[in-house]
Structures are given as C-alpha cells and as structure tokens.
C-alpha cells in the first residue's frame, strides 16, 4: 500500500510533465521519447525489473552514484519497490493525463494569454484544472495497478515481507506454503475490494469534477 502511494506520489507529477511535453511540443526525438515512455507497457515486467537492476543496482551506473552521493540504496528496499511500481505504471498515467490535456480547448489557453497569463500561470490556472479529471483517473488507475505489480518488483526489490512485499507477492508466497490457500483467498479478497474501490472512486470523483468544471 505504501509502496503504491509513494509510486503514484512521485510518478504522477513526472507523468504530468511528460504528458504536457508530449501533448504540447513537437521536437526531434519526440516519438522516441514517446516509445520509451510506453516501453514498460509492452515489455515483460521481469525484463523491466532486470533493466532497473542493471541501472539502479549497487554497481549500476545510477545506483552506484546514488549510493556514493546520497547513501541511497534502492535494490531490495521499499523505495526500490516504489521505483519499480512507478516505472511500470508510468505509461498508464502519462496516457491518461495526455488524453485529458489534449482534450482541453487550446482556445482557452489563447484567451488566457490575451488576458496577461504567462506560460506557467496558464498551466496551473487553466490547463491543469481543466485536465484534472484525467489526471485523477490516471492517479487512481496507477495506484490500483501498483497494488497489483508483480514481475518488476520481485526482480528488482525481491519479496521481503513488510518491506517490498506487495499484495500479489504476498498471495504468491502464501500459495507456495502448504495450507496457505486460506490466506491467499483472504488477500485476494482484499485485492479485489481495493481494485473495486479504486475504480468506483475514480468514476465518482470524475463525475463530481465534471460537475465542478461545468460540463
């Protein structure tokens, strides 16, 4: 749960920035960046986890720097599990945010310009509020997906109870133990409930926001 919250907490703002860049600007390498963002969606999760392990491992190019400079170790920690989750859900969030950003009428942006609003001013007071339903849905779906993340987490952060053990990892672990079916069923029920709540919540909040936005 905490893993997922952190993943969304760090991932969503990044996803918004990425979605804004992809939605508003045309630059060389844009389609490459777009492909890179969506890579975790099509790559087997285990491969993603392995790539993370290479990059962020203690001896990896980024991981060793983090360890040397900030004394941060990501592999086999809760933070690492969050990172794996964030990377996996990033495409989902970017997609959802980008679609809602693109749905915002550019005419309103022009109107705000003529009224004296600068670039960031317009982003925070016009574009983002109008795209908020999509951003919210992106966050909630991202959170729900994080809760279910398996392959990348187990590869990158292992399966340490209380630290990096996500729900599906716990269910899998329970199933490996003789007589663990009851526990697995219990955990599955929790998982099912969380997923349902997430979906209903996003639906309801989306509706409320649309009312506020006057649609």
């Amino acid at each position: 749960m905490i893993v997922a919250a952190r993943a969304v907490g760090f991932g969503l703002p990044l996803a918004i920035v990425m979605a804004w860049v992809l939605a508003r600007y045309r630059f060389p390498g844009r389609s490459m960046l777009n492909a890179l963002v969506h890579l975790p969606l099509v790559l087997p999760p285990v491969v993603t986890g392995w790539l993370l392990l290479i990059l962020f491992g203690i001896r990896g190019p980024i991981g060793s720097l983090l360890l040397q400079w900030f004394d941060i170790r990501l592999v086999f920690t809760t933070a690492g599990a969050s990172l794996a989750c964030a990377v996996m859900t990033f495409p989902v969030m970017v997609r959802s945010v980008r679609l809602s950003l693109e749905a915002v009428d550019p005419g309103l942006d022009q109107a705000a310009r003529t009224l004296g609003a600068g670039r960031l001013d317009r982003l925070f007071h016009v574009t983002l509020p109008l795209a908020s339903p999509g951003i919210l849905v992106g966050g909630i779906v991202g959170y729900a997906t994080c809760l279910g993340e398996f392959g990348a987490v187990i590869t990158f952060a292992a399966n340490i109870p209380g630290q990096t053990q996500t729900l599906p990892l716990a269910i899998y672990a329970a199933l490996q133990v003789p007589g663990g079916e009851a526990k697995a069923a219990e955990l599955s029920l929790v998982s099912l409930t969380l997923a349902l709540i997430g979906l209903l919540l996003s639906e309801w909040l989306g509706k409320r926001l649309n009312v506020v936005l006057g649609r």
Partner: protein, 359 residues
C-alpha cells in the same frame, strides 16, 4: 492619437498585404467578406499570429515591429480580445472569469462595478459559464477583456454566433460601451447593421488587401468602394438634434450645416445621433420644385459619378458641408440634368426615408 497597422503574410493559398491608420480612441470596424483577412489583422494585433512583416502601433506605443525584431508576446501586450465563441473558463464562476485578467494587470481606470453595471451582468456573477445563454456569455467575455485594462480592444465577430434576438440584446450594450470608454477598438464583422451602429472609422478588407479606410461617413459615401455596390448602399451622416416642432410632428437635425427634417423624435435637443439615407431613396434635381410633400432639399456639389453596370444605374457622390450623400439614379437622369463632377445639384430626400440611428 492613432492606431496604425501594417502587415504582410503569405498564407499557402493567398497573400495578405494590408495597411491602415485610424484615429484613437474610437471604434474601427474591419468589414469584408469571410476569408478576406480581417481575422488575420485581429490575431496579429493580439500577438497570436506572427506575420512575415508587421508593424502595429497604438497611441505611440509599438506592439510589434518585425523591422527591428520587436515582438511583444500576447501576455505582455495588454490587448483585450473578445472571441466569436466567448471562451470563458468553464471551471470558474462568472466573477472569477471577470477578474482573471484584472488580477494580472496593473491597476487601471476600468472599475469592476462599472463594467458589471454597464454590461448588466450583476445577476450572473455567481453562475457558471455553462449555465449562461450565448448573449450573456458574450457580455461576460467583453467585461473580462475590458477589466484586463487593455490599451486596445479587439472584437472578432463577437455577435456572429448569436441569433437576431440575442444580437439586438447586446448591441445597445456595445453602443453604451462605445461612449463610456476612451479606448481604441478594432471590431470585425460582416454585418452592415453593426457597422452603421458602432463604427467611427471603417476599414474595407477584400482578398487580403485593404481597399479603403477612413471615417465611416466618408468610406460609406465613396461611390467607388464596395459598399456603394450593394443593394442597401447608403450614406451616413453625423447629426445634432436642433429643435422639435410638435405641431408639425417634425424634428430638425443639423449635419454640419445641412438641415434635415425627420418625423418627430424623442431625443433631447442638442443630443447627437447618426442618420442613414439609402442611396436609392435620393432624388436629384437641377431646380427646387414647388408644391411638393418633400421637406428636405439639400444643396451640394457633385464629387464623383461612378457607373454601376449591373443595375444599369449610376452612383452619384455629393459633397455636403460635413460628409457626403450617395444617390443611385439612372444614366438617363445624369444626361438629362447634365450632371458632372464639380457641378451643383439638389438632393431631394423624403423625411420618412431617413433612418435615425441614435448615438
């Protein structure tokens, strides 16, 4: 003080090359068919479109000059723009919408309460844009643009998306604004009614070129410009109400020396108004007739005679002390009266043919 615009831009399908200069403050109407380049002027003035060559100056302040590489971005121009589709922010109340530009502009002379009052939108302040009618939305959009304390107000066909009833609802507000604001306004329309009611100056645009510009009364009365080619060609004159004659049920108007009698008006003596005289209602004569129902026999000098082959007619332009008259007559009349540029002529106009427009 003046507003001067010069721009050239090559679109894939046509070249725009336009220049004009009009007095400021005042309402300048850009008039012409769709696709002629009116909106290009508006977008360039707002800074939302950057033409290849462009110089825009308002009251001595240069907003853009491609010759020196000077280009103020729209957010720093202090140019208000009212779009055809009001473009109110849907997630804000009417009041927040109105204050959007005001909060981002230095304090100015346009006050919130005055604007709300002038546009009659006090009852709408707490509402959301989605719940407003088209006319109400457009009024809020005008208020929002004004409250940003603009140096120049641009209106791109603000009434085009409204039906006739909504238009009639907004036009009086625009007329009031015109007198209440000391601001240069560029107003795009292809509706002649809006031109005659609002314009001080007129810029005629066609196929990417400016075919004529100047004071409304001058441009409207030019026999060689497109306005005179229309069925509803008419001359416009500024008048002052001189006196009422309730006994004869007539009102006397003075147009800078020329006197017009019209059916009794409500306006107070001394008030200003403008009158519209359709060209086809004007009769020309060499000598004043007697025993005639007519009240208005106006002395003038012929300035120009332009042929109108489509209608087998001739447009005669007559100079008055202040302004000009247009008369659409037959070629035969011109030859029978031996009319020629520079010669004197009498224009005979029925009182009931004169349309008094107010303000």
């Amino acid at each position: 003080m003046s507003l001067s615009v010069r721009l050239r831009h090559d679109f894939p399908s046509m070249r725009m090359d336009m220049a004009f200069e009009v007095p400021s403050p005042g309402v300048t109407v850009l008039f012409g068919p769709s696709g002629a380049g009116k909106s290009t002027i508006i977008l360039a003035a707002a800074g939302l479109l950057r033409p290849d060559v462009c110089r825009i100056e308002v009251d001595g302040q240069v907003l853009a000059d491609t010759a020196t590489g000077m280009w103020l971005p729209p957010e720093n121009r202090r140019v208000g723009l009212v779009f055809q589709d009001a473009r109110l922010f849907p997630h804000m109340s009417v009041a927040t919408n109105l204050r959007f530009g005001m909060r981002r502009a230095p304090p100015g002379t346009v006050r919130f309460d005055d604007v709300v009052d002038l546009l009659g939108i006090a009852a709408l302040l707490g509402r959301r844009p989605a719940t407003l009618s088209g006319g109400e939305r457009q009024r809020v959009a005008i208020g929002r643009a004004l409250l940003a304390q603009p140096h120049l107000l641009l209106m791109d066909e603000p009434l085009a998306s409204l039906d006739a009833a909504r238009k009639a609802e907004i036009l009086p507000y625009l007329s009031r604004l015109k007198t209440a604001l000391r601001l240069p306004v560029l107003y795009v329309t292809h509706d002649l009614d809006e031109v005659t009611r609002l314009a001080d100056s007129l810029v005629l645009v066609d196929a990417g070129r400016v075919v004529g510009f100047g004071p409304l009364t001058e441009v409207a009365a030019r026999a060689d410009l497109p306005l005179a080619q229309r069925d509803d060609a008419a001359s416009l004159l500024h008048c002052r109400v001189v006196e009422h004659d309730p006994g004869r049920e007539l009102t006397r108007l003075d147009a800078g020396g020329a006197t017009f009698w019209v059916p009794l008006l409500d306006a107070a003596p001394g008030s200003e108004s403008r009158i519209r005289i359709p060209a086809r209602e004007v009769i020309l004569a060499g000598r004043a007739p007697d025993a005639i129902s007519l009240h208005n026999i106006i002395d003038g000098t012929i300035r120009r005679i332009a042929a109108d082959p489509v209608r087998r007619a001739v447009m005669v332009e007559i100079v008055l002390p202040n302004g000009a008259l247009l008369a659409r007559v037959t070629p035969d009349a011109v030859s029978r009266l031996a009319l020629s540029p520079g010669g004197p002529v009498l224009a005979l106009i029925k009182s009931t043919s004169i349309e008094v427009l107010g303000g």
